[in-house]
Each structure stands twice: as C-alpha cells, then as structure tokens.
Amino acid sequence: MNLNRSTMNKKIILIVLPLFIILHAAQAQKRIVVRGKVSDGIDFLPGVTVVELDKNNRIAKGTTTNIDGEYVISLSNSEHKLQFSFIGYKEKVVAVDGQTSLNIVLEEDVKTLESIDIIAQKITNTGMMNVEDRDLAIPVAKISAMEFQNVQASSIDEAIQGRLAGIDITSNSGDPGAGMSIRIRGVSTLSANATPLIVVDNIPYEVSIASDFSFSTANEEGYSQMLNIPVDDINEITVLKDAAATAMWGTKAANGVLMITTKRGARGREPVISFNYKNTYSFNPGHIPLLNGDQYSTLILEAYQNSYGVPLNTSIRREFLYSADDPYFFHNYSANTDWLEAITRDGSTNNYDFSITGGGTKAFYRFSVNYQDQIGTTLGTDMNRLSTRLNLDYFISDKLKMRADFSIAHGITNANYTDNSIKSSRGTDARSIAYKKMPNMSIYEFDAWGNQTDNFFSPESNAQGTSPSTYNPVAMVSDGVNRIANDRITTKYSLYYDIFEGLRYTLDLSFDVNSNKINRFLPQTATGKKWTDQWVNKAYDFDSDTYYLYSNNMLSYSNTFNEKHQVAATLNLMTNENIGSAYEIWTSNSGSSTQQDPSNPSKVNESGVGPKTDLSHGRSIGSALLVNYIFDDRYIINGGFRYEGNSRFDENNRYAFFPSISLAWRLSGEPFMSSATWLDDFRFRFSYGENGNPPRYEGMFYSNINSFDWNYMGQSAVYPTNMELKSLKWESIKQTNIGLTFELFKGRIYAEFDYYNNHTEDMFGYNVSVQSTSGFSTNSVINLGTMDNYGWDMSVRTIPVKSDDFKMTFDFNLARNYNILRELADNYANIRNETIGNGEYQTIAQIDNPAGSFYGYRYQGVYLNEDMLIARDAKGNKITDPNGVEIPMVYDYKNTRYFFELGDAMYEDINHDGNINASDIVYLGNANPLFTGGFGSMITWKDFSLNTFFYFRYGNDIINRTRMFGEAMYNYDNQLASTLRRWRKPGDETDIPRALMQKGYNYVGSNRFVEDGSFLRLKYITLSYRLPVKIAQSIGFKSIRASVTVNNLFTFTNYTGQDPEININSSDAEIYTVGYDDSRTPRSKDITFILAVTF
C-alpha cells in the first residue's frame, strides 16, 4: 500500500516539476544598474517602494528610497520595468529600456470615482471552463448570495430550498444539525445515495465520513455535519443538472453537481469589514392532540374487554387499578401527563459573522469567522459551531498565480440518545416514545406514601413492556447523552500558469481532514432496567478520522480565431483518495448515571459491549478531455470523454468510459433576427451524456474471513462474512436534455425550459434480500435493474416593475419528474408482504410504474350493523352456502379466518367473494409529486425591501403512519385524541373502528391512512431596511442593514400529519417505504432578526 501511495506521489511530483523548469527558462541575461530620485513634484519622497518587474509583472527584486528620495537598483534584465509605489500616491510603472538614470514624480491619489459601471456578461463556472451564461448548452440553475442574504438558514441547503428548478430539498428532521436530503431531478437510483456531488471552490467536498463504516448510524451523523459552511461565506451556488454538464466531475457527479463558490477578496480594494448578527426564535410547534391519562385508561379497558371477552385483570395490571388501597400504583399511574409537552420547548439560534475583505495589486484576501449556537425544540438538542475561512490569492506575475484557501470548523451537536436499538427509523427516538407513552404515568416517581420524589419514574416493565420500546422520555432527554464533536480542516492549494496566451496549466491540491467524536450515554434512570442488565448505563465513545486527498492537473486552452471561431479545450487528470479509521467502544453498567464516560469502571468483556475498529481506504482516478467550440457566436458544440477507474470494483469492471456531447443554437444571433431588438438571447440546447456511480462501499469483491466474537470450547471459530461480488458493474446513467433559454427586454424576462430523460442502467440495490438458503440473508449491493427519470423543469425570472425608487421582481420555478421502473433483476424481490398484516402495506416494485406506489385495501368505514356483516356478490345480493345460510364476511379465510364483528374496520371486497384477502388489494396512491416548485417576489422601495418566497409540492400522497399507529388501538400505546370518536357500542355512527387489544385487523394498510401530501408553504417573508449611505457614512459606517424574517409562517395543506414536507426517500433506505411519514420534529415557525454592518 505504501508502495502504491509513493508511486502516486511521484506522479504528482513529475507533473509539478516541469512547471518550475518553465519558470526558470524564462530568465534572461542583460544586467543593468538604475538609479534616480523620487519626488511628488515639490518634495523628495523617502520610503518609496521600488521594485523590478519582469515581463510577466513578476516581482524580481525590490528596494526603497532613502531619506533624500534616492534609490539604486540592479536589474537582471534591461527589458524589465520598475514599479514605484507609496501610500497616498498613485502607483507608477516605468519601462527601463536601457536607461540607467530615472527620476520619477508620483501623483497624489485623489479618489474621484466611487464606482464604475462594469459591463460584462455573466460567467458560469462549470468547474473546468468558464463559459459565458449565454453560451451554455447545458442545463444549469444558479442562485447568488443576494438572494438569501436575509434568510435565516444554518446551512446552504436550507437557504436554497425551493429556489432552484428541479431541485427538491427536504429536511431530514427539525432537529439542529440534522441535515437535508437533496435530489436533483428526482431519484435516478433506488439506492439511498442519490445526493449530488458538492463542489466548493472547484474542489469536491466529501460529505460522508468513512463511507463504508459499518455501524449503521455513522452515516447520519456524518451527514448532519454536511455543508458546514456558513451561509454568509457563499457567493454563488450553481447546480449542474445533466451528464454533459457534469462530465468534468466524473462519476461522483452522476446525481448532479452543486457548485458553491465562496466569497473572495478583490484586487485593489481597501479593507472592508463586515459584521452580521442574526437571532432566530423558533416557536415550539406543538403536537397532534393525544389522549390524556383518564381517556387512555378507558380505552385500554375497553380494548381488552372487546378482545378477550373478560375485563382486564387489574390485580395483575395494577397500572389500571386506580385504587387508593394500592398507593404506589395509585399515585404513579393516575396522572394526566402530556409527555410531548414535557420534552419540547421553544428554540433559538444566534449567529455571528465577521469578515474582512480586501486586496492590493499582488494579493487579495478574505477572512471570515462565524459562530453559531442553536437550541432545538426538543429538550437536549442543541448545536454550537465555530468556523473560520481564509481565502488568499497571490499574483506572482501576470502569468503565474497561486491561491490558498483554509477553512476550519469546529462543531458540537447534542442530540437525543440513539443507538442501533433506539433509533428514529424504528420509532424509538424520544419523540416517538413520548407519543405512545402511557399518559397515566407520572414523570417523577411517587413513593408508597404518595409523596413525589426527585427520581424519574422508570419502571423496568409495565403494560407497555420494557425499554427500548418504552422508556421515560423526559429522563432520556435530560440524562441521556449523544454528543457529536466534529472538526473539519480543509485546505486547498492551487497554482495557475499561463504557458502562453490561451493555454493555461492548473494544479489543484486539497487536503481535507474530518474528525468526528461521538459520546453517548444511556442512563438507567430512563430505562429502569435492573442494575445487572447490559442496558444499564451503556456508554459509548466513537472516534473517526477521515483524510481526503484530491489532486487535479489540468491543461486548458481557449482562443478565438478570425473573430468567428471560439475554441476552448481542457484535459485533466484527477485523483481522489480517502483513508478512514474509526474506533468505538461500548461499555455498560457503570456505577451511576453520572458516570457517563466509558473510561469509568464498567463492563467491557461481554458480548454486545467492547471495542471495535474499522478501517477504510478508497481511491479513484479519472481523466477527461472536453472541447467547446463556438462558431460565429451562434452555433455551440461541446464534447467530452471521460475515463474513470475506481478501487471499489473487481478488476474486470474497474474502469469505465463516459462520453458526452451538447449542442446549442442561438437563434437570436442569426442575422434575420437582428431586427428583434427586444430579444436579448434566444437559445436552443441539446445535450446527451453518460455517467456512472460506483457502489458505496470499498472491498466488496473480496470475501472476508472473520472470527466470531466467541470461541467454541476454547477454540477459535471463523466464518466467511460476505459473498464475493464478482459480477458487480458500474451503475450507468444516460442523460438526455432538450432545453430552451430566452431573455427579453434587457433582462426583464428570463426563462429556461428543459425536458430531460435520465436512463439508469444496472442500478444499484443495497442490502438486497437474497434467498437465505444461500447462507446469506442479504447481498450488500447488486445491479438490480433499470429506471427512467424523465420530466421537465422550468424557471422564470421577471422584473415587472423597475423605476428609480421602486423595483419588483417575480421569480418562479416548477418541475415535474416521472420516475419509472423499467427492469428488475431476476433475483430481486419485486413484491413484499404479499399478504399484509396490521400496520403494513403491500409493497410492489412494478415494471413500467413509478417507484413509490402504495397498495392496500380500500377502507369503507366501520361495520355498523349486522346486515353489513353478510357477504355480498357483485350484484349486491347476499351470498349463501348450499344450505341457504348466509355467509358472513371473513378476513383471510384460508389462514386467519377472522370473522368480522360490529365495530370492525370494513374493507372493500373487490372480488365479491366475502373474503378479504390479498386479492382485494388495490393501488392506493403514489409518493411522487406531480409538481414541485416555488415562487417568490422581491419588492424594493427606496431603502426598504420585502422578500417573500413560497414553496410547494402538489399531487403526492403520504402514508401517515403517525396516524396509522396512533389510531390502531391494538396495544398499550397511547393514541391520538381522534380515537375518542371510536366505535363503542351498536348504534354508534363513526368512521373509526373499535379498540381491539392484540386482535383483529383494524389497521391493515388501507387508503384510510393514505393522504394527499400537497402543500403550499410561505417559506419566508423578509422585510429589510438599509440606512441611506450618506447617513451611514456620517456615523462612520459604509452600510447598515437591518431585517426581520419569518420562516414557515403558514402552510396550506389538507395533510393531517405533523408536516407534509416529509423526507423524500425512506428512512430505511428502501425503495419500498418511500413516502412514509413517521412522527418527527415538525418544522417550527421561526422569526429572525438580522443586523448587518460594514465599515
């Protein structure tokens, strides 16, 4: 391995070396001594800087004038120039031209021009080439800092949510630092990893910690630290959508590219200091009404009676006894606790941002510091982050430039305790537990005399069972620990050398160190487990470090011939390497709930606890050639080839080749259109490109041998851990895009329309079930099929009103994506849960249908009378057996043979056979929205501006599992207040079935829980005021701006769940559970105050 790494180092050196040879070759011979005096016309000036500049304006040598304003300098070449500079005077450059004596007069620098109107075309950087926006043949979406400077957002993804066409961003949860999931143009793959590549200042930004780290929660936390870049540091975000656009970035860009450009200094600018302060207050969003303790107890007693025909034996289940004769149970189990209320609060965020920007002729800089602290709306969740960034540009000469960027971020996130058994996706996070926790329980324990103690009331078991399905959520959020410390150091170095006019060499090197430390502690006070149990005082320490090395060598050429042929070409070689190592330890049974670190005396030598390490190492290499040719400013053609290799494949499939081409025709540039002066730009675009995805994990084409955690009679025992994946291929994506762009009336209307088709072949499926008779239950990854994602997106920006004092913009974007499954591998199960049970939907991945379709029964209310219980045929006549006896309705005659009773849920008997079973399952809905998009308007009047933005999704369905389990009335979990409407006795007219303890089929997957998930949300509304420049200057500031923003002020929706803005993909990374909504922290309403000053 070391050998391999050193060869690569050699390669880099070999590439860098010629560069220095070129530099040295530029030196020439004629030496000359120049002397003279410097004055301002009146006095001689001492201390003036005199430097020798070579023909590329590189500084060769320098001196200063003495007290009499005299200087002497020996020049290495008589062709060189001298530069004179002094504070308060204008800089002067003089050609020596063989003269040996030069007296110089410097002019005083009086600023006359406050600003210059720059007339230039907007430029888009696609990573490799800077192409004028008007010459783009590829679909891009762009957003600049201006558009989100007033928005309260802790990260960029939050800031751009809904602003860009075809880009769907949803929050994973409302907890601090929880991250968002980003999809560009729908999901092109069934596997969970459809996140676009994020490129910060031309360097890919790794968002995952050691990606093949096997502990299942690792990814989540890595993700939560994603995009740890303060919003204030961002200058511009560009989204590249199709394969032709992403050719440069290779396979990592298969899901699109999100390019982030951070702010930099500018040449010849005096320092500008700016300070921003933001304060956000998040209102506790509340929760769906639940039963109180008394209502709950009534429900339980009723459910038991309905199910078993006898009353609940309250001498065993004393939780429901309510008898003062048993004071311990009476006091502890007669409360009306609102558990959710007890673990939630109002949240707040403070964000401080400081930056200094400036530059001279040779160098410019931007330095920024950002501090943010956030308190989440669930108790025990908060975040602190300090980050700094320094961007430096230095012009060694006109031909040679270097750039160095440093950024360091230190963040600490406190979350509620999780581990593999207490995890949000399984519904055992604190909020989910609080939802179902028995409300007649007290938070704090009462002793046998009825006095309240300070101890949390956490019985080891009660009617609801034992931890982790029931613990004291208040104890968990107060005493539990889940602290994630993240340190990230990203440094980046670039060198640009213009070999000759038009040909440039670029070297980018980046070193990224990402370190995560996680501490967790599961307190006994929450679980109530016996002190000897392994669940007691479980402590966890996890350390992971990931090193990410990136290099890119690039030659680019651009030139214009005969004013009609513009050619640009690039060739590059890019390498990536990531090295990760992680270490974790679990201990249990420390002496007290205050001993929360694994270093305390505790058990480590049992199965289930103890240390574990994990290492990962991956590499990829890619080379691309791109050519861009423009004829007569009208016909644009762009072609690329990319060859890429990745260490995640077996040697047969290690390399892949990805071509791309894009074409554009600027109709507006044709001579016959010249009369249409109102038309600024009108362009047709076409592009086609191929790209690919490597699998998520390294080393899967090996079969490993591991030892069991235990011996067999003292002898070591081993087993093969996995199948060798010999046949695994690249997931390949073929993308076609047809688009149209136009700009009218000097930029007053700008619009883009695109139609696209992304055809994914050999799509990956992770942890795919295989027939377990093979000895393995799952295959870690297979090429499982083909999928098409097609659709369109449009983006329109208009300026309806524009006058001196008043300006109004109106932007909107709209996108529609169809996601169709085309083929599935033979061994991939396309149906799950053929017969469905309570709480389940049938899941089918149907060819030529969208992924994310829901199948289940059709709910028709409740059996209200005996007559309804008789089976009927298609004509509505009662079905009788040969003896003429009426046949009753039955659930799944063959297996279950449950005869429906009054008050049970009634499902439509589609085939009219009197038997509700799998053949009555029908299509119920689809998780894919018809449209997603957003619209907004910015109104400026004098120094005021009002910015509003709406975000919507339309036409998607959601399975409201919160309601499904909240109205199940099947066990001892607390239920929603809507169950007060349940059927209780004959004669009741209701749509909610009766309570049945552990029996019946009242909450089988049906359209009862499928809801329309459409919503329109006022994402934010901002009012800001900028102090007039003159007033600001009079008190010593360049500018002062203040604003107030309200986020999520209101949402229009018919959805009855917490929040219709659910995560797009499923929590367990399965295609089958797309569109399932489990209880999460809902989005809070926020109000933000911002004060921004520069001086």
Partner: protein
C-alpha cells in the same frame, strides 16, 4: 528562448497524456485491512479446524439480523406450537399470532436463515477441506475424514430440524461464496431430503471418532459417533423405520458411556446448570463469552412461561404427598416454578431454589441425552409392533419406568403395566412431555405420534389444544389441523420474494 519553451510545453502535454492513459490498476487495487481474505485462508489444518469450529459457534448466537439463532429456534420450534409453553405478557406479537393459530409467512418464527447459514458454513468446510490435503503436508487423510464427518453430521442435524418444521425445503449442498453462483433454490422433495440426511449420517458414522481424547466436555460439545447414533435413532423414528431406530439406540446403550444423572436435589444443577453430565450426549456449549438466549427469553424479557393448566395435567397435585421435595423432580422447581408465575425454571434456576444471575446464563442447550435414547427406544419398540406383544411391550415399559424411577414420578401419572401398542405409545408421549419439558421436543413428539400410520392418531394432536389454545380460536385451530400441510410452518415470505418464483409456498399457506 521561445523554442525551448515550446519543447517543454510539448513535453508537459505528453506527460499528462501519458498519465491519463496509462493503467493505474495497481494503484486502484486495495485490500481490506480488517479481515483475512478467503484466498489467503483455507491453507492449513488449523484454518480448517477454525472453520469447523465456526459451524458449531454459528449455532450459538446470531450475528446476522432477521432470524433467531439456531439454539433459540431449536428450543422454540419444538415448543411454540406445543401445549406446554404460553405467553407471559403480550409482547411477542409473532408468538401471540402462533398461539391464536394465526401463522403467516411473514411471522418471524418462520425465518430459517440461521439454519442455512450454518449449513453454508458446513458446505464451505466440505468444499475447502479437500484441497488443503495437498497444501498442508501434516494434514492427513484420516484427519480430513474426521472433519468431514463432523461437518456432514451438523448439516444433517440442520436439515433434520428443517424438514420436521417445514417438511420440504431447499436442499443446498454446495457452498455459496460469490454472487455468480446460483443463489435461488427450489424446494427438494421430502424423500430427497430424507435420503440426503440418511446418507450424510451414514457417511459420518463411518469416519467419526468415539472420543476426541481431550477435556471430557469436548466429547459432549463436538459430534461423536454416539451423537450420530442418537441422531439416527431420532431420524428413523421420524421416517418410521423403527428397527433401524432401535438398533441405533442399542448402540448408544451398549457403549456403556452414558447413564442417568441421579434424581436427587442436585438433579437440576448437575444435568442442566453445570451441564456435560454423564447423561449428556450432545450439548451446545455456551460460556461467559456467549451467553445462552434462554435466560432473556424466560426471565429478563419474560416473554414466555409454562401453561399452568398443562403443568397441572402432566404433574397433577398429589394431596397425599409427604413434602414438596418428594414430588416428581421434573415438576414444580424442576421444569417450572409455580411461585414465580410459572416461569420456566429449567433455564433460569441455579438450583431448585435459587435464581441465576444474568451473567451466569451460560448453561448448555442439550440436544440429545441418555434419557432421550431410552425413551426413543421405547417408542421404537412400541411403534414397531405389528400387534400387541407382551414381551416386547414389557421391554418398552421397563425403559419408560427406568426414566420415571429416576424422576420420582408420581403414582398419579403411572399408567400401570399395560403393554398394548396404543397404551405404550401414549405413555411414551406423555413421559417425554414430562422428561423433556421445554427442551424443544414437545411439538415434534406429538406430531410424530399423530402422523404415524397415516395420521391415524391426529385426534390427539387436535385435543392437545383444548387446554392451551384461546377458547375463541380453538375450533378454527382444530379445523386447520385437518390439513397435514398445516402441521408445517410456512416458507418465510422474504425467501419466497427473493427466489424469483423458484421457491413455492407450503400449499396450506398459499393465497
């Protein structure tokens, strides 16, 4: 100067082109750093032995998600559909469904993956062992045959469980090591599976040793010739070849190496808690590193307990009993403990009176013990009778009484000296229930009894539910049992889904 520059520039371009096109295969070849590759393993006798130990170790615990471990299922498959076990609280929904006779293909008790995992380990040992003969000069043909015999016997044990629980299952005899191999498998017929088990056991019997000449517990924890005989005895009872079964029992009895543990106050401690007693033939060996799952099932999580009415049926209260300690040792404080809500004491007691602590829960799981051989022989004799035969009948009765005497069985459960075939079969069935309560035998015993002679005695199986089934479900459970296919569990739905229609559901559970 300009000329030089151009040259350098050209060289520079060439250099980049060179690196862009040259192969970087070496640089992209990365080996995992945290494991041994299969290619580098299976080189020596030590590797093979570690692999074989992996077959045993895999039965103890569960390091893949989804399915219960082999050791857990060996117990539960034999009890969940029987009458002696019932729920403690309603927390195991899948058990509640089984209890109500509502078994569906997605019930987690149908998940067999841990069995097939062990089978795959056995197949891997069988496949990789042969080539080691030529790689490791110190590894002899005889040693290889011994290892092979062990792997074959474990595989036979796994399939014997599978065929008793599911009837027809896929018969996988080749190791799965990579994704190019055919992974989907259809079911094999019952005859094919039985033939394979019989052949594997015969082959194992040929080569396997009597003793490992190591610590005494090794002969209990690894398969020996006696284990193979015990397996054959059990297997031939199932296939209704009684003479073969009897002769296998005789071989174990005649070996003279096993005897019944004394039925005194330390009986539970000696036989179960400490384990590896003279009575044990094959026991899965748990230790501090790998605690057994039973303590959690029966105490920590308290998912199950003994059914009080059924306990009363098998061990009726004797009003004339002198003191509690002179009762049947297998009753209260032996198999169960009435004072602790009928908890299953066999697995959670340290002695007749003391409870274990969770960290002590490393008692073995006894797969076969000597009492089993005695009662199997009695059953083989009785079932093999063409007509009632007092001589052979008395021989069988004597074996039953030998077991009863040790247990100080109550006169109330004594069925007298009746030697008719039917009486003996019934007596064995009841005595096995008492002797092997909660040892994962009950359901197989009653099913074997019921299905014998073409389901002649199926009514007994149906009657069994009268005490234990929920009253509202009794009729539907009993009517389902008329279809013999319902006696077997459904094929797990996840496997049917993954099989690309290769695997067909047990007809009883088909939609």
């Amino acid at each position: 100067m300009k000329r030089t520059l151009t040259k350098i520039q050209l060289g520079f371009v060439a250099l980049i082109l060179f690196f862009a096109t040259s192969s970087c295969n070496d640089w992209l070849y990365l080996k995992p750093e945290d494991g041994v590759l299969v290619d580098e393993f299976w080189q020596s006798q030590a590797d093979l032995e570690a692999g074989l130990m992996g077959c045993y170790a895999s039965m103890l615990g569960n390091n893949v998600g989804g399915s219960m471990s082999v050791s857990e299922l060996m117990l539960l498959w034999g009890e969940i559909r029987g009458d002696m076990l019932t729920y403690y609280n309603e927390q195991v929904n899948d058990y509640m469904l089984v209890w109500q006779g509502d078994i569906k293909p997605y019930n987690s008790f149908c998940k067999w993956s841990s069995f097939y995992r062990t089978i795959n380990y056995c197949n891997t040992v069988l496949e990789k062992g042969g080539p080691i003969l030529s790689l490791d000069p110190s590894f002899t043909e005889d040693e290889w045959n011994q290892y092979r015999a062990e792997a074959l016997a474990i595989r036979a044990l796994m399939y014997f469980y599978l065929t008793r629980v599911f009837d027809e299952v896929p018969l996988v005899l080749d190791a799965t090591t990579n994704d190019l191999q055919v992974i989907t498998q259809p079911k094999a017929s019952r005859e094919t599976i039985w033939a394979q088990i019989e052949a594997d056991l015969a082959e194992a019997e040929k080569y396997i040793c009597f003793t490992y000449n190591a610590a005494p517990e090794v002969d209990k924890g690894r398969i020996t010739k006696h284990t193979v005989w015990a397996l054959q005895a059990d297997f031939y009872l199932w296939t209704e070849e009684y003479a073969k079964s009897e002769s296998a029992c005789d071989k174990v009895i005649q070996s003279g190496k096993f005897w019944l543990v004394d039925g005194n106050m330390e009986w539970i401690t000696n036989l179960y808690v400490l384990g590896n007693s003279p009575e044990g033939i094959f026991e899965l060996q748990f230790d501090v590193d790998i605690l057994n799952p039973y303590f959690n099932l029966f105490y920590t999580n308290a998912n199950y307990r003994a059914h009080p009415d059924v306990m009363e049926y098998f061990w009726p209260t004797d009003p004339y009993l002198v003191d509690a300690d002179s009762a049947d040792i297998r009753s209260d404080r032996g198999s169960y403990r009435s004072g602790m809500n009928y908890a299953i004491w066999k697995y959670i007691g340290r002695s007749r009176t003391e409870l274990k602590s969770p960290s002590e829960a490393y008692s073995n799981f006894i797969v076969y013990r000597y009492a089993d051989i005695l009662l199997m022989k009695a059953e083989a004799i009785a079932a093999g009778l063409e007509s009632d035969d007092p001589v052979r009948g008395s021989e069988a009765l004597a074996l039953i009484q030998q077991v009863r005497r040790r247990a100080k069985a109550s006169v109330l459960t004594d069925e007298g000296e009746e030697t008719s075939k039917e009486a003996l079969l019934m007596y064995v069935l009841k005595e096995r229930a008492r002797e092997f309560a909660f040892e994962g035998k009950r359901w197989f015993d009653i099913l074997r009894y019921a299905k014998r002679d073409n389901y002649k005695r199926i009514q007994t199986l149906k009657n069994m539910y009268q005490l234990c089934a929920p009253s509202t479900k009794l009729l539907s459970i009993q009517s389902k049992l008329n279809d013999p296919n319902s006696h077997y569990l459904p094929i797990p739905q996840s496997d049917i889904d993954a099989s690309n229609e290769q695997l067909v559901q047990n007809p009883f559970y088909e939609e």
